[in-house]
Symmetry: C2
Subunit: 426 residues, 2 copies
């Protein structure tokens, strides 16, 4: 844990130190920069996956809205009929004032720019009160959700547990005997679902030697060199993970846990992740667009961060959760599963992970749960589905902040969300 | 031309000689074979792009319905609303009898198996009278359309010509000065649209040294070796094409012509191919699914063969053409453009290409035009949109025949289509 804490605080420090050296949101707007414009685009405006340029800021301001043009993807099919209607009651909220975590006075609109937001939808009492798209993202587009993906995997797992198809207290190897000699050999499914696994795996995006990059190469989300001899699938990567520390002692955010859970879901259901997401959620909420997930070299979806979706469809998901799982005239997610997420997990275990900006939070079924009634799916670079049932508010946001760790923008975004809730309920 | 003719007749000969050595449609059904089943699939049932296995029969019986999971793709967005309704008037047509070009008595159902059909929709007088999906393709799926793609590029070009935005009689280099020193340096847009270009480029899929494979590598549809130093975009490939023979003398089917035309379309419209297809056709016909196109390393679409679509959406396109371009309450393609396609091009030039199975046909705006009133978009391995206005019939078909050249299945499919038209109009 100690090394993880150290890395984490390093990321936070770097974030604060490096932010000023990046061009701001307006200066890095992909349309302003002319990225990928023209046929062909100029060499210095061309973004490719194979040379790594698609992963570099400011190119990410374009590529996060164009993932399927860069890597292979699996379709998360919507239902064939008419999408559910999201009613509008737009308000002028750009000037909404709040104080950020560092004590500076800010407006909502400033927050959007400072967090490099690509799109945001705010819903209150079931209506869209604010909606904005910036740069490469448009109303009908899809944007990568990064680790927001995990919350879908966690929810699907909790649904199967609720239905008695998956035993949360069972050992992981009941479902995946392939993991017997790995860190997961003596772990339970619940420990995976709540990320209290002791596994040697660094998630520090600022460290080029961190295992997160080997993982990214294995699942096909980072380009590989000519001399690459490593694993080319999530499966092959997971079977090599070794134990570090003990399970069930502390929350430790490690993307590979979600890959293990996604594998369990496939094994238990006999369906791939894209199909499960389509049948269980996308078709039922009346999504207006297909979503899609990045896949590895054998078509297995990146459960830890590969989902790409339309922002209004994320708003629908948030609304469904806010309403206790009920949406579009049906119970999409069991009310008990939603309540279990909203109740959170062990706060003491979460505290050990040292997220200073998230006091008294916890992590349940791969959702981040606050101590004030709201909970959130969160992804690096600024992705979020933020559900605040008490204030009848849902926020869906996509971003392309130059720094991966949300610690770089939480000081702005989280107080802005709370101020928005207070304002809307005035 | 002579070498092209030789290669073509070789393909036909090989086709006849090799057919018996492939497992038949039932034996090569991807579900029966268990291809890509399980998490992970067994090693000998795993299909990848990177090792070339996705391009090999019988794996193609799976991969032709899963292209987006293998390579990057651009979305051809449908309209957000309710899809246009295709009414049903299903008939039992499996037993429809006909005589194939070799004089053998056949049934429709036999034809589907012998041509390794993955899906087929027959429409008569605006209603679906027959619909079937086999193997890896289902009702809501998408299948690669191969060179059917070309007919969309040709139609879009003809539309821009009709609108006065593109001059068919202008030299190619008016729009693409980049091609001055290539085979296209002294060609006109019309010659490209009707494929009467003299360019050194072999389309013989049976020859591993044919340029078609270098093209496939450049556009990202064939895997490249570690030592690959060739072009990685369609643009880079096209600027290297040299002249062979003269323009305007004979029809010569070469996929690169469509890539040149796609480039012209982008340059003239300022939009990429996926956007043009979406705005001009997919949104207007009320498609029920997004389509998608395989892209090269910089996101440029493979205009020569990369389109993947839902079969019923292809039926909608066929209906739109049958109805003189009018569908879904609007003129999608100008009637004059449809009439120009239906009228065909110079038959004498076509005859020089030596397609013995297609007597008196011609090739106009990248559609194949018969001498009996029907015309067709055609793609290797059995893809087709077949429009027969006189008989008020449209057929959309996807297949995964082991042999690329349609000469391997035209002796079955073409008489079957004509027998179907006669039967439906009895």
């Amino acid at each position: 844990m100690k090394s993880h804490l150290l890395l984490l605080s390093m990321v936070t420090t770097i974030a604060v130190a490096q932010t000023p050296s990046y061009p701001d949101a307006a200066a890095s707007d992909p349309l302003t920069l002319g990225l990928m414009q023209g046929f062909p685009p100029a060499a210095d405006k061309t973004i490719r996956f194979i040379d790594g340029s698609s992963l570099k800021f400011p190119n990410t301001r374009w590529s996060f809205s164009h993932i399927r043009e860069l890597v292979p993807t699996a379709r998360v099919a919507r239902d064939n009929g008419t999408p559910t209607k999201l009613p509008y009651a737009l308000k002028d909220l750009d000037g909404l004032a709040f104080t950020d975590m560092n004590g500076a006075p800010r407006t909502w609109k400033e927050m959007l720019a400072l967090t490099y937001t690509d799109g945001v939808v705010v819903m209150h009492k079931g209506k869209i009160v604010y909606e904005k798209y910036i740069g490469a993202l448009d109303t009908n587009g899809q944007h990568i959700a990064m680790s927001v993906t995990k919350s879908f995997v966690g929810t699907l797992a909790a649904m199967l547990v609720h239905e008695g198809k998956l035993d949360a207290n069972a050992p992981v190897i009941k479902y995946l005997p392939e993991l017997k000699e790995t860190a997961y050999g003596d772990a339970t499914v619940r420990q995976v679902m709540d990320m209290t696994i002791g596994v040697r795996y660094s998630e520090n995006y600022a460290d080029p030697k961190a295992e997160i990059w080997a993982y990214a190469a294995a699942v096909g989300m980072a380009p590989i060199g000519l001399d690459y001899k490593g694993p080319r699938t999530a499966y092959d990567f997971l079977v090599g993970l070794q134990k570090e520390g003990e399970h069930d002692q502390a929350f430790a955010y490690k993307t590979v846990n979600t890959e293990v859970l996604a594998w369990i879901l496939r094994r238990v259901s006999g369906k791939n992740l894209a199909t499960l997401l389509s049948e269980r959620i996308w078709q039922k909420i009346g999504a207006e667009q297909d979503a899609y997930i990045a896949v590895d070299s054998i078509g297995a979806e990146m459960g830890g961060g590969g989902l790409n979706a339309n922002l209004r469809d994320f708003a629908r998901v948030g609304e469904m959760m806010r309403l206790g799982g009920k949406f579009n005239g049906q119970q999409v997610v069991p009310a008990a599963v939603v309540a279990d997420i909203a109740n959170g997990a062990d706060k003491a275990k979460f505290a050990k992970a040292g997220y200073k900006l998230l006091p008294n939070w916890s992590y349940r079924n791969m959702w981040w749960v606050t101590d004030y009634g709201a909970y959130s799916a969160r992804g690096i670079h600024g992705q979020a589905i933020y559900v605040d049932p008490k204030n009848q508010m849902v926020i869906a946001r996509f971003g392309s902040h130059p720094i991966a760790a949300n610690a770089a923008q939480d000081p702005l975004a989280l107080p802005a969300y709370r101020a928005m809730a207070a304002h809307l309920n005035k």
